[in-house]
Amino acid sequence: MDLMNKPTPLAVVQGEVITQPPEDLYIPPEALEVFLESFEGPLDLLLYLIKKQNFDILNIPIAKITEQYMEYMLLMQDIKLDLAAEYLVMAAILAEIKARLLLPIHEELEEEDDPRSELIRRLQQYERFKQAAEDIDALQREQRDTFSISVPKIVDEVEKPLADVQLDELLQAFQAVIQRMDVKSSHQIKRESLSIREKMTHILAQLQEGNFLPFYNLFINIEGRQGIVVTFIAILELLKTHLIDVVQTKAYAEIYLRPATASEENIDIESGKKSL
């Protein structure tokens, strides 16, 4: 294979095809690699070779093309480019066509039996889609060539539609809250009726002992969800009947319960103790 005899391009520089390396110029192997990598596959490479030399795609000089194709393969192997298996398959196809063309032609052969016909069909098929890809790329593209418009709409606030809520959603939301509170209790206790009144008495008893109770201390984890709910209702019930007061010094601070009779001034919230 003689590289010098054929105008085999080595690189493309600013659109110009370099077919022979200038004697005193060093071409970095990376540039060559970029060029060789730019082929989309064996068909693309073949099309390039055919067009480069103005060959007729319908009458490919198989011997010449095969020779050039092999030279590129060697070049690619030389720079250790990862050659896709398809390139090797194509090499085999070309060799086969070349061999068949060398065989004496039998008289019964028709034009369709031209050994090149399948390859020509594939090349043409690929070429038209290569062109179609370029055509699609040239189409007006949204967000590249045109930009769809959406101006702010001026609407009255009240005309905003309101969200719908179902009653069971509300219940589920509450269940979620309770479950989160209950996340530490690992086991499910048996359903046992904790009476609200019993709980109220219990709370009041605790309050009398200490006179002052952090809200959370009243919720005993082992009682589970039901316990929490019952305790909560009991506290609400006590509040409603003015038996206790709920105190909080500031937003997000700990909440304290105390007997309704105790007055605010007597309580040192910080220490949580009564300081008469």
């Binding site: 509300l170 939301a173 997000y252």
Partner: protein, 188 residues
């Protein structure tokens, strides 16, 4: 730049901008070679405002600049864009409402204590705007926080005669087994 072309260019720029553009910002779109001065620009903006005078949109000068927007007169029609999609309330809002419904009267601090996170003012505002909750009074503790409860409108919305008709709290214990067999008509 020729007058007609400047007008079309400004249209393209203003219609595709995400935010209002001031005349100063608009000026920066042009290079010296475009030969667009501030006077040209302002004159063209006035021209555009007139041109869209008899249309469904207008070129409006707002605080930060010029923008195209739909005209007030067509609010009825453009509101129909959104009516196809009903908004959904957040979990935080539903939980807050649930706590208010079941634990009323309750304060914001109590809701926060139960939920374990801060209750945003937006949620309270939305619930009040919806007229589902109202302030029942103020708690006699420092800061006198508002105590919230549900309203008549809340009961009406959920088709309840009274708060007693709310699904029982004790049901929640076995809520997974019960499967929400509420004998309530669900209206919207």
């Amino acid at each position: 730049m020729e007058k007609q072309q400047l007008k079309s260019t400004l249209e393209a720029i203003l219609f595709s901008a995400n935010d209002p553009l001031s005349s100063l910002q608009l000026e920066k779109y042009f290079d010296p070679k475009d030969q667009v001065n501030r006077a040209d620009l302002k004159a063209t903006l006035v021209l555009l405002q007139q041109q869209y005078h008899h249309s469904g949109i207008e070129l409006k000068q707002v605080q930060t600049g010029y923008r195209f927007q739909t005209r007030q007169e067509y609010k009825y029609w453009v509101a129909k864009h959104t009516s196809e999609r009903t908004p959904k309330y957040s979990r935080a809002l539903l939980e807050t409402l649930a706590i208010i419904a079941y634990q009323q009267p309750t304060t914001r601090a109590e809701i926060e204590a139960i939920r374990g996170v801060t209750v945003s003012s937006n949620i309270i505002k939305t619930l009040e705007e919806r007229q589902w909750i109202r302030v029942l009074g103020h708690k006699e503790v420092p800061g006198r926080p508002a105590m919230f409860g549900t309203s008549r409108e809340f009961l009406d919305y959920f088709n309840l005669k009274s708060l007693n008709e709310l699904p029982k709290l004790s049901d929640l214990v076995s809520v997974k087994d019960v499967n929400f067999s509420l004998n309530l008509e669900q209206t919207t």
